[in-house]
């Protein structure tokens, strides 16, 4: 009944799960996976009981309905493959088959929750939680900030763009890869049914996307329509979609303008190299602050890459302006606080640096939130972007 690919996936993953012997988490997905495993063991009665229990609570779980249909068809007569509904649209069956595979993988080969994603180099005290999406596993992870270090809380199945990741253009039906932040919450009553129990806008396109001339907008985290429990792994126009019950569970962790959302092609875990890189970068940031504060403009400008741009000024214009400004100062003081560092997915030597900047001088003082993109070039960390955040 199940395709060989799925069976082999099942078997290989079963071994891993046996080795880890972790209890399956409760909930819809666990029940679904129990049912699929029972099918694999040829215990069709148990499989049907599990899927019925699940559907009692979530009648709109389409994948579960499909599995139920298969189980009943198997009783009525032999069936050929996953999703034996007569005249079923091929694309939809394929989508649900992928969802089955992904959900099996999610439950059976769970990641070690002690590992820390490498993207979260340092969180500031306001960022109580951070989200990391591993699009290869259709999973959104929630991490809590414990003394600046990420600590696993929970994870959810998510749907991403129909055509995958690495969004570059409007309408390309892809999900962007990068470091983003929750911008705003859109309440349910202002949204079409498609978005389900709510939506959170993301900061796509960010500064790096703009630099790379990526277009499009309206990349959100949102829920599912009222007649749909969950959608296949690749089904959205680029948004990251969660089941409504999951979005509701996620909501308390989200804060507009604060919570980072890192979307990756694949999760990678923090290593010693990252710790060294972090120490190195923090040192460079501190040196930049010192050079600026001491009004040593030449040393200060050495922190900027020749490819620097803040969106309106290139390196030459920036240097000229900074020389002009600094020459009019008799003293300045720069203080940095709430420094957070996020290593950029798919850009091994780029880090997004955020901080509160406390600037004062003989003729001007201000406080602002600032964002810089630092890139390691020839073994030195250089700023390639700087601006208010």
């Amino acid at each position: 009944m199940l395709p060989p690919k799925l069976i082999s996936l099942l078997l290989s993953c079963l071994l891993i799960s046996a080795a880890q012997a972790e209890p399956a988490p409760p909930g819809s997905e666990a029940l679904l996976v129990k049912s699929l495993l029972a099918i694999n063991d040829n215990q069709l009665d148990i499989a049907l009981t599990e899927v019925d229990t699940l559907l009692h609570a979530n009648p709109n779980f389409k994948l579960a309905q499909l599995v139920k249909g298969d189980l009943l068809m198997a009783r009525a007569g032999a069936i050929n493959s996953f999703g034996s509904a007569p005249n079923a649209p091929h694309e939809e069956i394929e989508g649900l088959r992928e969802e089955a595979q992904v959900r099996l993988q999610r439950v059976l080969s769970q990641t070690d929750h002690k590992l820390k994603p490498r993207f979260l180099w340092q969180m500031d005290t306001q960022q109580r939680y951070a989200l990391v999406v591993d699009t290869s596993r259709s999973t959104l992870y929630v991490y809590e900030n414990v003394n600046g270090e990420p600590s696993y809380i929970t994870d959810f199945y998510v749907t991403i763009g129909k055509l995958g990741t690495e969004k570059v253009a409007e309408g390309d039906q892809r999900t962007p890869i990068g470091v983003y932040f929750i911008k705003a919450e859109l309440p349910k009553d202002k949204l079409a049914d498609l978005y389900g129990s709510g939506a959170y806008t993301l900061s796509y396109p960010n500064e790096w996307d703009r630099k790379n001339k990526r277009t499009g907008s309206g990349i959100w985290l949102h829920g599912t329509p009222s007649d749909t429990y969950s959608r296949p792994p690749r089904a959205s126009n680029g948004c990251v979609v969660l089941a409504n019950e999951d979005l509701n569970k996620l909501a308390p962790y989200l804060k507009s303008g604060v919570t980072p959302v890192i979307i990756s092609n694949q999760m990678s875990w923090s290593s010693e190299q990252d710790l060294n890189g972090r120490a190195d970068l923090l040192e460079s940031v501190e040196q930049w602050r010192k050079d600026w504060s001491s009004l040593d403009t030449d040393a200060y400008l050495k922190h900027y890459a020749p490819t620097f741009s803040n969106g309106s000024m290139d390196y030459a214009a920036w240097a000229k302006q900074k020389q002009l400004v600094n020459s009019a100062k008799s003293w300045i003081k720069v203080g940095l606080s709430n420094v957070s560092l996020f290593a950029y997915p798919e850009q091994p030597d780029m880090v997004v640096v955020n901080f509160d900047q406390d600037y004062s001088s003989n003729n001007l003082s201000n406080r602002m939130k600032k964002r810089q993109y630092w890139m390691k070039q020839n073994n030195f960390w250089k700023i390639i972007y700087e601006g208010a955040s």
């Binding site: 199940l2 389409k62 309905q65 249909g69 009943l72 009783r75 007569g77 509904a85 079923a88």
Partner: protein, 350 residues
Amino acid sequence: MHLMYIILKTNLKHMINRSNGLAVIFAGAVLLCASTGLHANSFQEAGILFKQGQYSLALEKTDSFLASKPGDAKARFLKGLITTEQGNISEAVKIFQALTVDYPELPEPYNNLAALYASQGLYDKAKLALEKAIHTHPSYATAHDNLGDIYARLASQAYDRALQPERANTTAKTKLIMIQDLYEDSARSKIFASMDSAAPNQACLEPCKKLEVAAPAIVKTESKPTLPAPPLASLAADKSNDILKVVKAWAAAWSAQKVDSYLAFYADDFKTPAGESRTSWSAVRKERISSPKSIQVNITNATVMFSDNDHATVKFRQSYRANHLKASGSKTLLMVKAGDKWLIQEERAR
């Protein structure tokens, strides 16, 4: 649901055929209708009246019989059939329900209860009742057939919910309307008309035969999930198309009631279903195919598997309709290649 109609007929037949068996099983508990001449007569009359479609009279006779033997299983069962035919479904449900309580060992009341539930769209309840019927008699073919249909119906509901939630709701509504048609107007009077004109035994057409054939052997085991068949080479695909053409032509000859061309589809060494002689099998087929006013046989979901170059197994869902009777079930044909022709060597139904 035409299906139910057939089941009821079948059960009546089973009930009558089983009377000796019942007497053995329940020794003194169930008194045979033959115990007194008068009562036996009134019960037999009720059965005949029922077959003739004279339901009010049949009910009267049955009630008077029950007045003296209120616990009699067969009479209560007949009353259930009569009230069903009269369209008194809630009463019929009560009667069959009570029978399942008093005689939990009998599969027929469960089966008919299931048929009534199914006619009301209560497929989950129908499923439970049929599973009980099978629990009492694991080889009870009618219940297996019906359960197969219920599973298929529930599966189709689940598939609709998986793939087309909008459609799932509309089909549910359509079903309700169909049921009202069956019991209240034209569809029903058609049944009466054809019943009146039919000789008693003619009510037993293909479906009954199908059951008799299937009954002895079937202890249905859970279908195992099968791996998808490996993609057929194009040669094999051509061959299976040839075979499917033959099977369709066979169904067409049957539908057209062309007995000779129908019989020509069977191999010389055709294995008759009950081991009877080829001549007597052919005679029965001829009689059954030529007597109905019309026959329609449709084939869906056909699959072909080759065991070697000259042998293939064809499985499909067959829906049969003759006059007012309608039945569907899965069928398997074992085909053999003789010269350049594919012929039927064995025919299995369930």
